[in-house]
Symmetry: C2
Subunit: 503 residues, 2 copies
């Protein structure tokens, strides 16, 4: 029994945040460590979240005119080198394929067959700009072929020495949008539009408030003119970069000869963008909402919206309760809701409550013999919601069985909103304006977003990083354009940047 | 102009079947060759087909109790070797990762950094039995954990020297189901159930009739006890293996220690299955239905069901026709149909007809000024359908605009059925019973399925393969159990096997 308790126990956030995160991911069976260094296994509960994220995002991409395609996993080594900053950015984390066959090893077993060495090694894609734009250069001939708006759902490999489930793994899943345009004005609009899609998705679907802004040069994508990003705050006050949208300018177009003939018949280089989000979002979801009881899933991304737990003492009660529970399940499923009936025998209701809380199911519906008689059930949201009408926090409420689908939907909406509100409040409570570097160095220890003036110099940025491990997360778009003096050197600053420690 | 015609021209099937196939795939922009040897790019039109295939199959997998998960792309070399037949089957086509970093090459440029050589090389998954079952062995403890029913959508790499778009490429996309059970009876049922899902999908969605059967030992999956398959006939009379479902017995369970405690507390090895279909299905789709005008897409897998082509001579006609066309488009889209309105200027209706036929859109809707006045449009199915009531082939028909959604849906249903019927008729007309090996050797040249007796001996099978390039596609399940004498050696045979040349 002691062992079983240990296996189920979740380390409290306050005790060890990092262990808490790992406990949630493993115990809620979102993912597991694999025998391949740095690579994880995404288990069904985690993959179901990814499928729901994908479905929502994919719909938003298609609604904005993008089509999906699929490009090769392998990139010839020489392609990476064509854009100088790009290869520098990725060379140190590339998995390299050098052979195409295994053969018998002299000492027994197998080894890469030396006779199968590739003339040119292949890199497993760390991102697909180079391989895609080699094709763009073939496909794009005229301004009539533009804009070209593609997206790819794929696996990506970036060799990592220190990994963390979902947040940083050698292989991860993502989508990467890649577009080509006739003018910089149009491509910059695309950069911002897609950043807007990401922000909307994070806030409306994941219930995670985000800051939109521009990265500093030292943090931008290797090969981009400019990188924009959304940044979310986790419950330890650290930032998590949750999506990026890059203005590639004509850098890659020149490296890969992506050109079009304009209306006058002149050849010009395209203006390009790329943008992506990854399975990292699942880490953000876990860290933004979960608690010491386990996972918390925003209703809009949950595969299972409610679990029905029947409660009875004797066989007569059991028959009656199970009948009603089954019919409730059918009614809710018929209304498009994901419902599980937990009719397992020999487990106490309390045991079941804990298990479903651990798994993050948004609402628990309890039904006992008295509820059956009253034609109702008791709904318990995973996190207390605030009743919109009465201003009270709702811990539980009685739902009439007759109107259950509508009441449950309304409760799920409330929960979705409550999660966002809670996360926003948390961020506001942990955001500080600061003008004093000494105070910043002291306060950064407790986490949070620090809005401070910065002169724009790489030296000041680097000094902060070295001395505090904090980085500039972004120069926010929707912020007051208040001029001031750099917190570090006192130089002129046109607006505050956001400093934080980050994942 | 000569050049443009050439680029658009499709080589007739009768002239060069293989070139015809390639022309269709390239001209309909389903896929393109990539700069990476053996790897293709799946373009939006091809990927949309794959998405629709995926969606239908994924629904069938989930309806039969399977959940999706994701396992690492990389497999430690030693894992492959644990099942002796398995490594033998795949060693010769493995992409091997040996380094995890690029570094500066002495001669300039980059090379795999010698200091980053991996202690144990990693193989890019050619299939995932080994990496998955290493995890199964960790997760499965008791009979209560069984059956374990997982599926993975992923990319796969098998090094190919001679490749063909969709049909045989070094990298391809697929799904692989992997299950573990307590008894062989149960796992064999799973093998057949999933083969049944594949057959149903092929026939009902792809409109491709298939034979279900068992592979001979020489054709089975490396490491399986038995491989079952579905086999389809292409328009050149060749077979295309379109899906396989494997009885893995306890071979991998023993190699990877996948065990469970039964009700009595005894440890026993699991019984396992795996099953998969891939982007190869798109090749099957193309080769089963398309014609010299271009691609033919079965309506149930089409993203675009109908294209509206407006026809007018003057501006007054144009305004009227376009108004009606737009409103028709909105009505059809509102009914859940995928519709494109081709209102491009300066292109003749004939040009547009050809282009949409090339792209395989199931139905063309023509609207001219007279149609507007009559409140109707003219529907032309991509392939003549047979009217169910009147027994006539339908080349085109007049649809009332008022009832357009229902009429179009009904026409699409007819077309779906017509495609299946045509493919089935083709297969029947090219299937032969044969008992005479000399006649078989002569007739195999013209293609088709040859039902012949076979003694079960590997020598006879090999002789046929060497002398005719035909293989035993399967020993069909739903066939007459008619005993006879082996076509090759005269030995006893319990039933006929199906011989054909194959892709």
């Amino acid at each position: 029994m002691a062992k079983e308790r240990d296996e189920r126990a979740i380390t409290p956030r306050g005790e060890d945040y990092s262990q808490w995160y790992q406990d949630i991911v493993l115990r809620a069976e979102l993912a597991d460590y694999s025998p391949v260094k740095g690579c994880m296994v995404i288990r069904p509960a985690g993959y179901a979240l990814w499928e729901n994220l994908q479905k929502a995002l994919d719909g938003m991409f298609k609604a904005t005119g993008h089509a999906n395609a699929y490009f090769p996993l392998f990139i010839p080594m020489s392609f990476l080198s064509k854009e100088a900053e790009h290869v520098e950015g990725f060379a140190k984390e590339c998995a390299v394929v050098t052979h195409h066959r295994l053969g018998a090893a002299p000492e027994g077993g197998v080894r890469p067959d030396p006779a199968s060495a590739l003339e040119e090694p292949l890199v497993v894609r760390p991102t697909s700009e180079t391989i895609m734009y080699a094709m763009f250069s073939k496909w794009i001939k005229s301004y009539r072929d533009l804009p070209l708006l593609l997206n790819q759902w794929a696996n990506i490999v970036r060799w990592e020495m220190r990994t963390r489930l979902f947040l940083r793994t050698t292989e991860f899943l993502w989508q990467e949008g890649h577009t080509a345009h006739t003018t910089h004005e149009e491509s910059w609009k695309e950069v911002l539009d897609m950043l807007g899609v990401y922000a909307r998705f994070a806030e409306e679907w994941m219930a995670v408030p985000v800051l939109k802004g521009v990265k500093t040069d030292s943090e931008k994508f290797a090969g981009a003119l400019k990188t924009t990003c959304i940044e979310a705050m986790m419950q330890d006050g650290k930032a998590l970069q949750s999506g990026t949208s890059h203005d590639l300018g004509q850098n890659f177009a020149k490296a890969f000869d992506v050109k079009f003939q304009d209306e006058k018949g002149e050849w010009r280089y395209c203006w390009q963008t790329s943008w992506g989000v990854s399975t990292r979002l699942i880490g953000a979801l876990v860290m933004a909402h979960s608690d010491d009881q386990g996972l918390v899933i925003p209703p809009k991304l949950a595969a299972t919206h409610a679990v029905i737990v029947p409660i009875y003492r004797d066989d007569a009660g059991k028959a009656k309760v199970l009948d009603t529970a089954r019919s409730l399940k059918a009614t809710l499923a018929g209304a498009g809701l994901g419902v599980v009936l937990d009719d397992r025998e020999n487990l106490s209701p309390g045991f079941k409550y804990n298990e479903w809380e651990l798994k993050g199911v948004p609402v628990r519906l309890e039904i006992g013999p008295r509820d059956v008689e009253a034609g109702s059930c008791v709904a318990v949201p995973r996190v207390p919601t605030r009743g919109l009408r009465d201003g009270e926090k709702r811990q539980k409420e009685t739902l009439s069985l007759a109107g259950a689908p509508e009441s449950l939907k309304s409760l799920l909406d409330d929960l979705q909103r409550a999660l966002f509100d809670r996360a926003l409040k948390f961020r506001e409570e942990h955001s500080y304006k600061t003008d004093d570097y000494a105070a910043f160095r002291r306060d950064i220890e407790k986490g949070g977003f620090f809005w401070a003036h910065w002169c724009g110099g790489a030296a000041c940025e680097e000094k902060v990083k070295e001395e505090t491990k904090a980085t500039i997360r972004c120069i926010p778009f929707d912020a007051e354009k208040e001029a001031g003096a750099c917190m570090i050197c006192g130089g002129a600053s046109p607006q505050r940047a956001v400093f934080a420690r980050a994942y």
